[in-house]
Amino acid sequence: MPVVDVDPDELRELTGHEKTDEEFIDDLFALGLEFEGETEDGDLQLEFAPDRLDRLSVEGIARSLRYHYGDARGVHVPDTNDADWTIEVADSVPDERPYVTGAVVRGVDLDDDALDSLIQLQEKLHATMGRKRAKGAIGIHDLAMLKGNAESDGDGNAITYRGVDPEGDTFVPLDSDAEMTPADVLENHDTGRTYADLVAEYDRYPAIYDDLGLFSFPPVINGRRTEVTTGSRELLVEMTGTDQWTIDRMLAIVCYALSARGATIEDVEIAYPDGDADGGAGADGAADVEPIAGGSDSSTASHPSAGRTLVRPDLDVTEKSVSHDRIESTIGVSFKPDEVVDLFERSGLDATYSLGEDVVYDVEVPPYRVDVLHPYDLVDDVGRAYGFNDLEPRYPDVGTVGGRHDRSRLEDAARDGLVGLGFEDLLNFHMISGPENYDRLRVDPGTDVAGGGEPVEITEPYSEDYTQLRTWALPSLLMVLERNTHRAYPQDLAEIGLAAERDETENTNVAERRTVAAVLARTDASYEDAKARLQAVCRDFDVDLATPPTDHPTFIDGRTAAIEIDGETVGVIGEVHPAVLVEHDMELPVAAFEFRLDALE
């Protein structure tokens, strides 16, 4: 879950409330932001669930508190001035990262705190909505350092989002003094190495140019020329990514934060390239088109938003409808419509309703609320504003009949039987390594013996101890014996648990079964001891047991039998081979058996 560092002095300034840190901490908990501790500088570290991403900055948290305190009500949308700047998107832009958005912000007054907050918001948005910059990456530039070339139609300023050959141009990246090509950056710059994977497969790298040349290499790093400092008064915010909606919402959150500090937002035009006559995308929905896979001929494919011109930032409110009934039935409380409207407004939403048979609210949702997908999400806002913890719990008046699953009842009954026979019931991991499952018991994968099934393997496991599911449980029991040689004997252990093997006739391609495994480790353990107990279990379940001789590499020849229950071979019983015992550091004999639980049905 995201954690945001917030300077309490900034909170006091932005909310206008001279509260103590403790009072803020309590109020924030009520909003769902949990106090985790303090930084060295005395900032509050606040953790919250990743839905309200508009709270990733002190400005956003202060806004939520102002609604909470009743200082603000309803939807607020910052005014924007008309566009002077255009971001032109060239055909050469990488197919994998076709989208861009942006805004100009004027009249900013960035002291150190405000600059820190802006950088933090940028980082936290990258980590969450931006999916570590893969889906959306933010670049903020000092507008004064940019020189817009004349726009195509000759009016205003323009910069270009385009593709560049990895070695095709140079610029001085942040935190560096040297001119570097984009390829150099990925190889030799710390930040470049961190994000190299994002563009490694691209034929051309994303780049943003002004009249003076390359100044930003998204999503990796900006150029040093346009670096933002506390002296910056005018900013260009650009975002690139794989999805237009995502970067537009990220931009809205940043614009709200800067506006809260008194800055003026100015529109930017996004001019996507002209499409082919028949390749032009529709006015809407184009943003949802999947990026076209990269390829040698990709430069000839038209841009998914070809022909479109957008005016950004997109600060439009959206409207959703939710019924009064739904609000009452979900929260479990009766409301008057005006109360509901009041609760909406205290949540930073606007609502109107028409009186009629069914009261339905038309709710306006501000653009920073990226968490509202369905109208029912608005019910949660009403509940939070009302105070969920003020609700009186009640046990639902719903009658149902409880019961155990047949499989788990059988498992329990068999387990009780084994415990009654003196076995200690164990619980081991279902994941295991190949050597433990096969080699140390002298079994080969894919052989027709108990435990010899094909393994279900984990893709790229990062622990060599857990690389597959176990095909039987005897290896787990032998591992427990191995780790407990210093404990008192006899050690009679049993486990009923999952075993699985590859089986492409199953829906999941895995044959899962419950297996019953038992070991008797004692100075005089013999085949007969194991069979006596196996017989007792079979008698309990009234099944017919036969034990014809068989061979199994884990057991001693001539002291090994197949377990046949009701005529079907379901397992193996025998004295464990000395080579297996020595392999497990055992100094006394072990008799063992293992069979499928469902044989007892």
């Binding site: 949660d380 009186e392 009658g399 009949v401 019931d425 279900v456 893709t459 599911l469 008192a488």
Partner: protein, 522 residues
């Protein structure tokens, strides 16, 4: 009167006129002295005899003492040598006399100090005189030493024996003066010890009882089938055991404590009207994540959080359901719904993973895939294993048990959810459950559940809950409300038992002793 054989033997051996020491009786009736002592006290309790106690002194000769018995005391040898040298007439040179006495080392000092003390003569300026009237043959110390040596068993016969021991102790002969004994002890020639000697005398009741006749009962060690079938058990006494002594350690079988905890949870949920679910551990991401409206680029869906399996994709997924789930992801659900602006592909949905939560079972049931279409009301639960690609540490395992439960009904509110979970946790001693509004991709509203630890009073997270979203229920074809919650069983176990390292309990690193010794659940 009836007594045991041992009791009768002691009674018969005791005398009404003499105090007889226990050791004598034991020797006579061939029992161990400890047995006779115990029996004597039993008989004294019955008033049949009296037990008296006396302190007894015994002495034993030391190696040095025994040596002097053979070679004479050093001062006597000195006197004899002095007389031989003519020291009775005139003082003689010390050196010569000592040489004549054949004394060496420490024996010289012993001889000189006792010579003067006993008045055998004078020693002055390197010369020695001898009193001819003294007869060392009458020396009381030498006589006493000889008497003790004569009375003591000949322990020197055993070459291994070096120090006086109990067996060589004797009662000092009465002829020996107490002062002499004390002097011998101080010289280290004898050792004295004191002990309590118990003696018994037959009482009048005892005499009477003997005259009236006493029956004996046989003492037996074990109750045998023969004793039972023959009826002989009526006539026997059972030898007493030391019932307070520790017995051997027995370790019976027992159900694993995590299973016991799971069983208790299952009992509680069945009692609350929940039915148990079952289903695959390896499942498609469709059932595990997509049905739950988890966007395919959600951070928890990466390889770093879940275990992908090297298997071909799942071929059979109900096609209508697959389409509806995809639509919910792309476009949202319902008129005003918005989808995720995230990529969605069937390839990802059909890939097979180990389930990261048992909510996959809830999806299989709610969709009708597991048991056919369900009509409200329904309650279902499972307590089953889930798999997370986490770092192993004292509180996190790669595999753990998740308690999963849901309630399906026409109208469910947040208050119903609160009431259900308050009731569940109350069963485990956790009251004062608090509900913190929370966010999950699949529920709305969502709540983290917090409760106070019954012992530490800490506020701890005890579960996650909510009402399933429309984007979850709609594609599944569920038209009523469903509330659900989840909780790690291990968390409940650690709260109930106070374990601090879950690895001791669950898995092949387990310690059998810990499992054997943990208190059972009540």
């Amino acid at each position: 009167m009836r007594l045991t054989e041992a009791q009768l033997a002691v009674l018969e051996a005791a005398s009404a006129t003499d105090d007889r020491p226990i050791d004598d009786l034991a020797a006579e009736i061939d029992e161990k002295p400890e047995t006779v002592t115990r029996v004597a006290f039993e008989l004294a309790d019955e008033g049949l005899l009296t037990v008296s106690e006396a302190e007894q002194v015994s002495v034993a000769i030391t190696d040095e003492g025994r040596e002097y018995v053979e070679t004479d005391l050093p001062e006597i040898r000195l006197h004899r040598a002095a007389l031989d040298a003519g020291a009775d007439d005139a003082p003689q040179s010390m050196g010569e006399v000592i040489g004549g006495a054949d004394l060496e080392g420490g024996a010289v000092d012993i001889a000189l100090s006792n010579y003067a003390r006993k008045g055998y003569g004078t020693i002055e300026s390197g010369e020695i005189t001898a009193d001819p009237d003294v007869d060392p043959a009458d020396d009381p110390e030498a006589l006493a030493l000889e008497a003790i040596a004569a009375a003591a068993p000949d322990v020197t016969a055993d070459p291994g024996e070096t120090a006086p021991d109990r067996d060589a102790s004797i009662e000092p002969p009465e002829s020996i003066d107490a002062d002499v004994l004390e002097r011998l002890e101080r010289r280290g020639l004898i050792e004295r010890s004191e002990s309590t000697v118990r003696s018994v005398t037959l009482s009048e009741d005892g005499v009477t009882a003997l005259m009236e006749g006493i029956e004996t009962a046989e003492t037996v060690d074990r109750l045998t089938p023969e004793l039972l079938t023959s009826g002989e058990w009526r006539d026997v006494e059972f030898a007493e055991y030391n019932v307070e002594a520790d017995a051997e350690t027995a370790t019976g079988g027992r159900k694993h404590i995590l299973r016991q905890t799971a069983d208790r949870v299952k009992d509680v949920l069945v009692g609350m009207g929940f039915r148990e679910m079952d289903g695959p551990h390896a499942d498609s991401e469709f059932w595990i994540n997509d049905c739950l409206f988890m966007p395919q680029d959600h951070p928890a869906r990466t390889h770093w959080d879940q275990f992908a399996l090297d298997l071909p994709p799942m071929e059979s997924i109900p096609p209508g359901l697959l389409d509806r789930v995809e639509r919910a992801h792309r476009e949202g659900w319902g008129e005003d719904g918005d989808g995720y602006h995230s990529p969605w592909t069937e390839d990802v949905a059909r890939a097979i993973d180990l389930r990261g939560h048992t909510t996959s079972l809830s999806m299989r049931h709610l969709s009708g895939f597991a048991l056919g279409d369900l009509e409200p009301p329904q309650r279902f639960f499972s307590v089953e294993k889930v798999y997370r690609n986490d770092t192993l540490d004292p509180t996190h395992l790669l595999e753990f048990f998740q308690i999963e439960g849901w309630v399906m009904a026409e109208d469910l509110s947040v208050r119903d959810l609160m009431g259900t979970f308050e009731e569940f946790y109350r069963q485990f001693g956790i009251t004062d459950v608090q509900f913190k509004p929370h966010y999950n991709p699949y529920t709305e509203p969502s709540f983290e559940l917090f409760g106070r630890h019954p012992e530490t009073d800490e506020l701890i997270e005890i579960g996650n809950s909510g009402l399933f979203r429309q984007e979850v229920l709609g594609p599944l074809g569920v038209e009523c409300d469903v509330m659900a919650w989840g909780l790690a069983l291990e968390r409940l176990l650690m709260l109930m038992y106070g374990f601090d390292d879950i690895r001791d309990v669950h898995g092949t690193l387990c310690d059998l002793e810990l499992l054997r010794e943990t208190e059972v659940v009540r």
